[in-house]
C-alpha cells in the first residue's frame, strides 16, 4: 500500500467513510484496511476466489448514471446518487471500483451473515467442547459474533463420516467440513498436487481424495492450517493439546535456505506443533510438512545432553575449559555449519582469527529443489557464514580438503560445530590423528570420538538469526529450555573465545549484535531487536559472483548469471 502511487489509488466509501485503496483490492481487503472485518470462510488471500461460503455478503452500490444521457445522477445536495444492488454481493469476489459504496453492517448485511451462519450450523455438530479446533475455529467465533444465538432447526442432522484418513499426516472429520474448498484450491494451486475434490451433491457433499490417491505431498498439513473449522486435522497434533494452553513463539524453519517463517507452539517446556507464520516475501502462509517434524529432534533418543572430556561426563564449564586449552594448540581447523546462527558464525570467525586457523570449513547439504518452499541448499544459513566472513567460497559436501590437511599433519586440532565429520567424509582414523572438540545436539561418530564434546541446543532452545537465499536476515526465538547438561552454543563459543583471548566476550544474542553491526559491515545499523519479524533484506551484491545452487521457489528467482553458472 505504501509503495502505491497516490495517483493510482481509487476511492471507495465503506460504511460512510471514504478510503483510498489500490485498484484490484477486493472488498474484504479494503474493509480490513479500515480496521474492520468482513467475516469469511472460503476466502484466503493466497488462494483463488471461490465465493462459495457466502459469509462475506455485504451491500454494494455504485454511483448511478442516467441511461439516456450517460450523465452522473446526483442527489439534491450534489453528491452522487448511489444505486444499491438489490441483493447482497460477496466481498471476496468483488473488487473495489471508483466511487463504490459498501455497507458491511447494514440490516441486510447482518441478516445475510446470520442466515449463512444458521445454514452452516444446521448440519454441523454442535460439540465445540470436544472439537479439536475449539479455540481456533472460525465457525465457532463467527457463530458467536454473527449468529442468531438460537437454532430453528429441529430436523435430524445429516451426519457425515468421522476420522477419515486423507493421507499419512491429515485426518478428516467430515461432519465438520463446511465445504469451503480452501484445501482443494491449496492442493491445486500451491502444492501442485491435485488430489482433493468433493464427491456427492448438495448437503451430502463430502471432501475426498481422488480414487487411488492420497494427500501425501510435503505440503499436506497446510490444508489443516487453512481449514477454517475442525474438519482437517493434523494426525500428529490431533487431540494432544488445547490450543489456548499453548505459548506461541516466532521461529524459522531450519530445513533449507528458504527460511520459512513459523510459529512454534509449546507448553511447559514441551513443543507440540510447528505451523507457518505469514511472510509475504518468503513463504506467504505456507510451510513444508517436513519442517513441522523438526521439533521431534528435541526429545529424540539420540539427543546428546551432557558434556564430556576424554569420554567422561563432566560439566559444561569443565568441558569448555578443556576445549580452550586444546584450541590453544598448533594447527587448528574449524568445521562450522550452515546450521549455525549468524551470531555463532560471527564468534566462530573470531575464534578462527584468534587461532590463526589452518582452514575454516562448512559442510554443504544439497537435495532436490521442490520449486515451492524447499530449496536445493538444505542448510539454512550458508549466506550467514559468507556475510560474517567465516567463509569466502561456497562449501563442498565432503571435507576431503580437511582430510588431506590432517593426513599431512598440517591440521592437528579440529573444532567442529553441529557437524558429524565422519558423515562429511573424514575417516575414523583421520579423527584419531587430531585433537577434537565437538559441539552438537545429537550423538554422532564425531561426538563419540571427540576429546571434548559439548552438548549444544537445537533451534527450538535458543534465539538467533539466519540469512536465507534472498539475503534476508530473519530472527528466531527460543521456544523451550534445553535439556539439563546442555549449553547455549553461542555462550559456549564465546567462552572458548574468551579463554583464547583472555578477555571477556559477549555471550548472548543481543550483546553479540552490538559487535556484529560494526561500521562498514553488511549488518551495519542492525540489532537483533531491530530486525523486523518478517526479516530485513541485506545487500548481498558482494557475493553475486558465487554460484549459489538454489533454483526458483515461491518468492525467489535466482539471477540469470547464477542460473547459467549452475
Amino acid at each position: 500500500m505504501a509503495e502505491e502511487k497516490k495517483d493510482n489509488l481509487i476511492t471507495v466509501n465503506i460504511d460512510g467513510q471514504d478510503l483510498q485503496v489500490p485498484p484490484g483490492t477486493n472488498m474484504v481487503e479494503a474493509v480490513k484496511m479500515l480496521g474492520k472485518e468482513v467475516p469469511h470462510y472460503c476466502y484466503h488471500p493466497k488462494l483463488s476466489i471461490a465465493g462459495n461460503c457466502r459469509m462475506c455478503l455485504v451491500e454494494m452500490g455504485m454511483p448511478g448514471r442516467d441511461r439516456a444521457t450517460g450523465e452522473p445522477m446526483l442527489n439534491e445536495d450534489g453528491t452522487p446518487k448511489i444505486m444499491w444492488m438489490p441483493g447482497p454481493a460477496i466481498a471476496c469476489g468483488t473488487n473495489a471500483a471508483p466511487g463504490m459504496h459498501i455497507k458491511t453492517s447494514s440490516p441486510k448485511a447482518i441478516e445475510s451473515r446470520e442466515a449463512v451462519t444458521e445454514f452452516l450450523l444446521v448440519n454441523h455438530p454442535l460439540d465445540c467442547p470436544i472439537c479439536d479446533q475449539a479455540g481456533e475455529c472460525k465457525l465457532q467465533e463467527f457463530s458467536a459474533s454473527h449468529g442468531r444465538g438460537y437454532s430453528r432447526f429441529v430436523e435430524e442432522k445429516n451426519v457425515k463420516p468421522k476420522r477419515t484418513r486423507l493421507g499419512p499426516r491429515v485426518t478428516l472429520d467430515d461432519e465438520r467440513c463446511i465445504l469451503c474448498s480452501r484445501c482443494i484450491r491449496f492442493s491445486q494451486e500451491i502444492a501442485k498436487d491435485d488430489v482433493l475434490g468433493f464427491t456427492d451433491r448438495g448437503s451430502y457433499s463430502t471432501l475426498t481424495c481422488f480414487p487411488g490417491k492420497e494427500l501425501a505431498n510435503n505440503y499436506s498439513l497446510n490444508t489443516v492450517d487453512i481449514c477454517p473449522v475442525g474438519a482437517l486435522t493434523s494426525t500428529d497434533f490431533r487431540f494432544k493439546m488445547r490450543v489456548w494452553f499453548l505459548k506461541e513463539s516466532k521461529s524459522i524453519d531450519f530445513e533449507s535456505s528458504v527460511g520459512c517463517n513459523t510459529v512454534v507452539s509449546s507448553r511447559e517446556g514441551k513443543v507440540y506443533r510447528v505451523t507457518p507464520r505469514r511472510n509475504d516475501e518468503v513463504n506467504d502462509t505456507w510451510m513444508p510438512d517436513s519442517g513441522r517434524e523438526l521439533y521431534k529432534q528435541i526429545e529424540s533418543e539420540d539427543r546428546f545432553s551432557y558434556s564430556s572430556v576424554n569420554g567422561s561426563e563432566t560439566s559444561a564449564v569443565e568441558a569448555l575449559k578443556a576445549a580452550g586449552e586444546i584450541l590453544k594448540g598448533e594447527g587448528v581447523a574449524i568445521v562450522a555449519s550452515g546450521r549455525n546462527t549468524v551470531e555463532e558464525q560471527f564468534v566462530l570467525k573470531q575464534i578462527a582469527d584468534q587461532v590463526n586457523a589452518k582452514g575454516v570449513y562448512l559442510v554443504a547439504r544439497y537435495g532436490d529443489d521442490d520449486g515451492i518452499l524447499i530449496s536445493k541448499d538444505r542448510n539454512p544459513n550458508v549466506r550467514g557464514a559468507l556475510a560474517t566472513g567465516l567463509i569466502s567460497e561456497l562449501p563442498s559436501e565432503k571435507l576431503s580438503a580437511l582430510g588431506a590437511q590432517i593426513d599431512s599433519g598440517e591440521v592437528k586440532v579440529v573444532l567442529a560445530t553441529k557437524e558429524d565429520l565422519v558423515a562429511a567424509g573424514l575417516s575414523e582414523e583421520q579423527l584419531k590423528k587430531v585433537k577434537l572438540v565437538a559441539i552438537d545436539t545429537h550423538a554422532t561418530a564425531t561426538t563419540k570420538s571427540a576429546d571434548v564434546a559439548i552438548a549444544g541446543l537445537t533451534q527450538f532452545e535458543k534465539s538467533g538469526t539466519l540469512i536465507n537465499q534472498q539475503f534476508r536476515i530473519q530472527k528466531f526465538h527460543k521456544v523451550v529450555p534445553g535439556p539439563v547438561g546442555s549449553i547455549d552454543d553461542l555462550a559456549a563459543l564465546s567462552a572458548i573465545l574468551a579463554s583464547l583471548t583472555g578477555e571477556t566476550c559477549p555471550s548472548v544474542v543481543g550483546t553479540v549484535w552490538e559487535k556484529i553491526a560494526a561500521e562498514g559491515s553488511i549488518f551495519e545499523g542492525l540489532s537483533f531487536k531491530g530486525i523486523a519479524d518478517t526479516g530485513v533484506l541485506l545487500d548481498g551484491s558482494a557475493f553475486s559472483g558465487l554460484a549459489f545452487v538454489e533454483g526458483k521457489s515461491l518468492h525467489f528467482e535466482p539471477k540469470l548469471e547464477e542460473a547459467a553458472a549452475e
Partner: protein, 454 residues
C-alpha cells in the same frame, strides 16, 4: 403427433411429418442446409446483424436476447471463440430439446454451423444430457452425415471456413445445464457454477476463452431467421417476444405433449390445444416454465400496466404466452416446461416433491443453497407426513428468503421461488397441515392423505 391448427410450427415443422426421419437425406429433401449454403456466402457480421434485429430471445430459461449475447463476445483477445450448444435439458417438465434432437438433428447442426460461422467459431460442442443416450447417438450419426456432405468440418462447402462439432455427453446432474456449470463439466471438472464476475462466458468461458452458450431451440431459430429474414421473424409473436416457442405441457390436461406456438394466450394452449382439464377436474394452478418457476393460481386476477401505459387485468387463461406476458403475471416462461396442476393435487405435497428434487440436485457449492434446500426438503417432507408445526410455514418462507439471490448461480432462485410462490398462493393449504398437528385428536393418517387428495 398431430399438429393442432392453432400451432405455428417452424422448428418442429417437419419433425412429426409421416416419413420424416433424422437422416440427412430427409432433411435436405425439405430444404435442409440451404441456409448454411447461404450463410457461407454472407459476411459473418451480416448474419449477426440479422440475429440481433430478429430480437430472438434465448430459449434456455432466462430469455436473454441472443444477438446481444453474441455481441458481448470478446473478439479482441486473440483466443479461440467456442460455441456450446446447451442440450442438458434437466428442468422437470421440459422435454422440447429432446424432440428436436431425436426428430430433426440436422436442423440443430445447421443452426450451430450458421451461428459458428457468424461468430468465427472453429469448434462447437453439443453438451447433451447423460440421460439422453439415444439423442447422443443420433447427433453423432448426424454429424458424420453432415461431414460427409461437407456441411461440417474442413473448408465447409468450399468456403474456406472450417468448424468441427463435438458431442459431449453430460455428467448427469441438473446443474450441468447451468451455463457455467456446464462449462466446468465440459472441461472435465465437477459442474460447479463459476462466479460472475470474472467468469462471464462471453469473455472467460470454456478453457478461459470467449464462449457462446445457447440452447438447442435458440440455435435452431438461426436457420429460420436467415430463411425468412429478421423482419419477417419479428412478425411472429408479439414485439420483444419474436418467434415461436415450444411448450411442453404435462400434468392434468387431456392432451399433454409439446406444442410450438406463437401469439397465443395461456388459456388457448391449455384449454384449446391441450383440451383443458381431465373430465370432472378443474385446473388449480399452472407452473408456466419448468418446475423452478413461480406458480400461477387459477382464479386469481393478474393486474398491472402494459409498457404502453394501458392496464391489463387477466385471468389465468388470458395471460399472453410469452416472456413478457408471463413475467407480467409474476412468473417466467423459463424453459417452456408447463405443468398443469388440477384439483387433485396437494400443493404442499407438490412442493415436497420439488424440494426433494432440488435438494438432491443442489451442487453443494454455496452454503445457502446447499444447506437451505435440504432443510426445506426436510420441513416439507415432515409436513406431508402429518408432522408440521405451526411455525413451519413462516420458517419455510424465511429460509427461502435466505437462499434467493445469495448464491453463485440461479439455482438458489429455483429452490426459493416455488416455496415463496406456493405459500403466497396457497398458504391456507400449508396452514391446514399445521392446524392438524396442533389438534391432539387429529387423525394422522388423514393428514397424510391430504398429500394425496389436496
Amino acid at each position: 403427433m398431430a399438429v393442432h391448427p392453432k400451432e405455428q410450427r417452424l422448428i418442429l415443422k417437419y419433425a412429426d411429418e409421416p416419413g420424416y426421419t433424422p437422416h440427412i437425406d430427409s432433411y435436405m429433401e425439405h430444404g435442409g442446409y440451404d441456409m448454411l449454403k447461404k450463410a457461407v456466402t454472407m459476411e459473418p457480421q451480416a448474419i449477426m446483424d440479422e440475429v440481433k434485429k430478429s430480437t430472438l430471445r434465448g430459449r434456455g430459461g432466462a430469455g436473454f436476447p441472443c444477438g446481444l449475447k453474441w455481441s458481448f463476445v470478446d473478439r479482441k483477445s486473440g483466443k479461440p471463440i467456442y460455441l456450446v450448444c446447451n442440450c442438458d435439458e434437466s428442468e422437470p417438465g421440459t422435454f422440447k430439446d429432446r424432440q428436436i434432437v431425436h426428430k430433426d438433428p440436422h436442423q440443430l447442426i445447421e443452426g450451430i454451423m450458421i451461428s459458428c460461422f457468424a461468430n468465427n467459431v472453429a469448434k462447437a460442442f453439443i453438451y447433451i444430457r447423460e440421460e439422453m443416450p439415444y439423442g447422443a447417438k443420433i447427433l453423432d450419426q448426424a454429424i458424420l452425415e453432415a461431414k460427409e456432405k461437407n456441411f461440417v468440418g474442413d473448408n465447409v462447402l468450399g468456403s474456406g471456413y472450417s468448424c468441427d462439432i463435438v458431442v459431449h455427453r453430460g455428467a448427469a446432474a441438473y446443474i450441468c445445464g447451468e451455463e457455467t456449470g456446464l462449462i466446468e463439466s465440459l472441461e472435465g471438472k465437477r459442474a460447479n457454477p463459476r462466479i460472475k464476475p470474472p467468469y462471464f462466458p462471453a469473455v472467460l468461458g470454456l478453457y478461459n476463452c470467449p464462449t457462446i452458450v445457447n440452447n438447442v431451440e435458440t440455435l435452431c431459430n438461426a436457420v429460420h431467421i436467415l430463411d425468412m429474414g429478421a423482419e419477417e421473424f419479428t412478425k411472429i409473436g408479439r414485439p420483444n417476444n419474436a418467434g415461436t416457442r415450444i411448450w411442453c405441457v404435462s400434468g392434468g390436461v387431456q392432451r399433454p405433449g409439446y406444442y410450438e406456438v406463437a401469439g397465443l394466450t395461456l388459456g388457448e394452449l391449455v384449454y384449446d390445444i391441450c383440451g383443458g382439464p381431465l373430465p370432472g377436474r378443474s385446473i388449480k394452478a399452472i407452473i408456466p416454465g419448468g418446475s423452478s418457476m413461480k406458480i400461477l393460481k387459477n382464479g386469481e386476477r393478474y393486474k398491472g400496466k402494459n409498457p404502453d401505459g394501458t392496464d391489463y387485468n387477466w385471468g389465468l387463461e388470458d395471460i399472453p404466452l410469452d416472456y413478457d406476458g408471463i413475467a407480467a403475471a409474476g412468473s417466467m416462461s423459463g424453459s417452456g416446461g408447463m405443468m398443469v396442476l388440477d384439483d387433485t393435487v396437494s400443493i404442499p405435497a407438490a412442493l415436497a416433491n420439488l424440494m426433494a428434487f432440488y435438494s438432491h440436485e443442489s451442487c453443494g457449492q454455496c452454503t445457502p443453497c446447499r444447506e437451505g434446500s435440504l432443510w426445506l426438503k426436510k420441513i416439507t417432507s415432515r409436513m406431508v407426513h402429518g408432522e408440521a408445526r405451526p411455525e413451519d410455514v413462516d420458517l419455510m418462507l424465511d429460509v427461502a428468503g435466505q437462499i434467493a439471490g445469495r448464491t453463485i448461480c440461479a439455482f438458489g432462485f429455483a429452490v426459493a421461488w416455488p416455496v415463496q410462490s406456493y405459500i403466497a398462493k396457497f398458504e391456507d393449504e400449508f396452514r391446514k397441515y399445521a392446524a392438524h398437528l396442533s389438534d391432539p385428536n387429529a387423525d394422522r393418517q388423514a393428514i397424510k392423505e391430504l398429500a394425496c387428495n389436496g
